[in-house]
Symmetry: D2
């Protein structure tokens, strides 16, 4: 049965920087929400103030819910909140759908889907791209893995949170797509960093170079958004270095399992490791350019 | 005096895959052209048939011309056709403007500009991005270095050939911008290659992955155009591997002179060197993905 | 009490390519052995024929033994044979010493040592270098982690198997030293590969180049042994590509935990992954040079 | 005619850190020397005090000499002192032998040899390894390219300066061998840096690790000499970072000409570029490890 604002009840686990605004968008669209977060935070209260019902365990969010959304940090966290002792599966009714919007291992995703399916619960893996701004504005790009009919039934839920919603394939393929996204994002940031630093040291104005490049084959969202951050030196997140690193580690581990060579991903992962050693784990991922700047002993802005 | 169709005479040196359609667009816009090409080719005849006057040396293209455009392969070629014995400078009148639209060294560009200026001839470096398709359709992105007033006077000439026309800075900065363009292009192709191969080996449909990624932070012209080429296995050029390599070599040599670290550019240059050893010098640069595919022993298309 | 041939009983778990000749050397030195191997192999029979008593579980090798040596493939295997249901710890008497000569994670080694110590059993981690030839000839290099007095008591045991026996530090430091060994070995093989291929393509005789280099700063055991293998094209193991890869993976995972950048190790790990995709998992690790040769489209031998 | 102390006159161009002690060793062996150095230095006076006759041009060193040795910085310098206006060739008699002991391009070496041979002058390229200590002690490793008979005639000259003297092949092959040497040296230093830093951050004593590794497959002159420098933090040269970089640039340029992939050399060249940006051009090349240490935010010595 298709989800509909007004009638569909949603469980929501994980009210982080991404999860909280996503939950708010669902409430605003007319869905009723049971929410769970491990810790107390102002943004959790904000969701409750907007009408979310706070419950004590992931399992309770599933009680009576048609759809349960999980949005937590890493692979073991997802396993815990779905399959753990007080996890979603404990209370999910047959026919309900679990949508995991975290970014985790494609392989483990397929294992979780199998465990849910065995108990008559549907699963969609639906990681997102677009950052906290996209989460707030409801313009997230959502990459979904699962069955067509389950996807169709959940479309209204996704549309409350995002704009570019694609069913990529079966379970796990949403996560695979997200890994691909993160590889491209990290490597393109690094490429833009090399190019803008080159421009700056060659005596050109990197802002005008960026503008000129936006019209040709070098144009990308990264050049537009992260290129501007490098030039204006705004490295507050956005998307954090340590989350970018988690995703590249996931890419490399899965790549090793699958026999996929990822030589530049491996090198950029080392660069990001160095930035984390330098205390930049909480900087925006556009700070990947800082590694190249440190090698040069100067910055793109020329100081 | 601003260049104008109908009155302005243009010399044009180098009727290659890019130069010939650019010359045709200038003729179609109403400019009168004297053209020079080192060798006989059907496309040279095509330009003559359209109204171009063929002459015997680069110097002769400059005779009586207001603007002389050079569009040849590499740094020494530009030096030869502008400053050589039968070069443009020999016949260029005072107040004329030489526009070099080749892709060459920023440093040598500044030397050429100085030599021209000394003789009262203006210079713009104006390399392009957009490939043969952009040249044919008059939609090239043009990155210009030089003085504002000279740029303004030549705007009608640029507008006959391109769409996104930017004065980046002084002489050499157009070439610097082009180097930056080529770094980003090559490295983004490599990144898209890693990401799509990962997707394919993980069991997802790379075409649907590409489509989903086009909506988020991973979106780029390269993902759109070259990503599709990787999936459809169309590696006919387009922009050739050996030209891409020439431009990365230029980036690395200039980077060494300037003290700009380019670690991933250096690695991708090695990959492209390997592809050239494998006989792919004439393939489209989207074939950079072939290196990763060879490492995997499979292709993005799964064969 | 110091171990002594004639009186000391040794349990030995794992009669592989390395383990079997090591066990034979212990028997020949006069130690009495209880041996366990998971599978039947001619070399297991060989050890039995030489006087080893074959038993049915790792636990039984420990029964009545003063020293128990484990020599198995990977971290989980060591955990299983020492701490598992039928593991060594089950039957090891208080005061006995477990010597793990496998190559595994330094961190897990410390966990195992703690579990053993809690039950009054000593532990030494003692991975080796020197290959199957060193194992056969009793010339292994042995890198030991643990307490000085325990090390001193086991010296006669080590001397039956190796020549260069060093107490590096406390538990885990033997394994750390082995990781360092494997990083240097893999990266030096790659370096020798680049250098000899360069020589060969530049027209020099790689055999004479190798000989000349052996006298200067470039000299190493790798240049001597693996350099000769590259020139003579003898890639039968020796030490297998897949074991080298296991050890680099261990280095990278531990490096990530510790915040140690390993940029070239990461790159060489990708190269070896490619060789494994190409069916060379069982080749000698000197075949790392094949990756560079494939990039060149030729070999060091010039064919 | 074989060179002999007492009778053979030698011209010597370039009394640098390497050249001066080499000249002193020749004088001590009984050869009579005419020496040229571009600048005044205490060490030039030292050679004169020992009996060398100082002359005003490279050409004058050749006047009446049987053998002329050149030992200058880079490829263009060698071209200048041999083929330039006041170069050696101007005064070299027919049948004399020019021995170039600089480290330069193999290709240019063959061009110089051809130019000399045309005028009846023999040529040997004979770059060295072993550093200033080797030069002082007369224990240099010498890699020679040229004809067997010319090599045989010069053996006494080489033996006054070095110990491990090898005729690698024809002209240029000595330089090719030196390129190979420098690739291995730089990459092995980097490898030792990764390994010792790993050891240190994992809690082991890098000095004991180094000692243990010296017995196995990881043993090398670099681990012995440069590994100790890293542990003791003695980065005064020795062999300078900027000379190491010059030699890697030479390797990469020649590699590009020959189609030899050098992926790790390319990466290490970038690291060294970064060290030069950080003001370490004059440090010993064992400081390559500093790049990895900077990435880690700590040193091998643990501070």
């Amino acid at each position: 049965m298709p989800a509909r604002p007004g009638t569909t009840q949603i469980g929501f686990v994980g009210l982080g920087i991404m999860g909280a605004p996503m939950a708010l968008n669902l409430i605003e669209a007319g869905f009723s929400l049971k929410v769970y977060n491990r810790t107390d935070r102002p943004r959790v209260q904000e969701v409750v103030d907007a009408g979310g019902e706070r419950v004590a365990t992931p399992a309770e969010t599933a009680s009576g819910s048609d759809v349960i959304i999980t949005n937590v940090t890493d692979t073991p966290d997802v396993v815990e909140v779905i399959l753990g002792e007080d996890g979603v599966l404990r209370s999910a009714r047959e026919g309900a759908t679990v949508i995991d919007m975290s970014t985790i291992s494609p392989r483990v995703t397929r294992d979780i889907a199998a465990a849910l399916n065995e108990r008559g619960v549907h699963m969609l893996d639906a990681p997102v791209s677009g950052g906290d701004v996209g989460a707030q504005q409801g313009t997230l790009s959502i990459m979904v893995g699962g069955e067509q009919s389950v996807f169709d039934d959940c479309l209204a839920v996704f549309e409350a949170m995002g704009k570019n919603i694609t069913l990529v394939g079966g379970n796990g393929d949403g996560q695979t797509c997200k890994v691909a996204n993160q590889i491209i994002v990290a490597l393109t940031i690094e490429a833009v960093g090399e190019a803008l630093l080159f421009s700056s040291k060659a005596g050109a104005d990197p802002a005008r170079v960026r503008e000129a490049l936006m019209g040709g084959f070098a144009s990308s969202r990264i050049l537009e958004v992260h290129g501007e951050r490098m030039i204006k030196r705004t490295f507050n997140p956005g998307f954090r270095i340590r989350h970018q690193q988690k995703d590249l580690n996931n890419a490399l581990i899965t790549g090793k399992e699958l026999g996929v060579p990822l030589p530049v991903t491996a090198l950029v992962q080392q660069m990001i490791g160095s930035l984390m050693n330098a205390g930049k784990a909480e900087s925006d991922h556009s700070a990947i350019a800082n590694f190249i700047e440190d090698m040069a002993g100067t910055t793109i802005a020329g100081d």
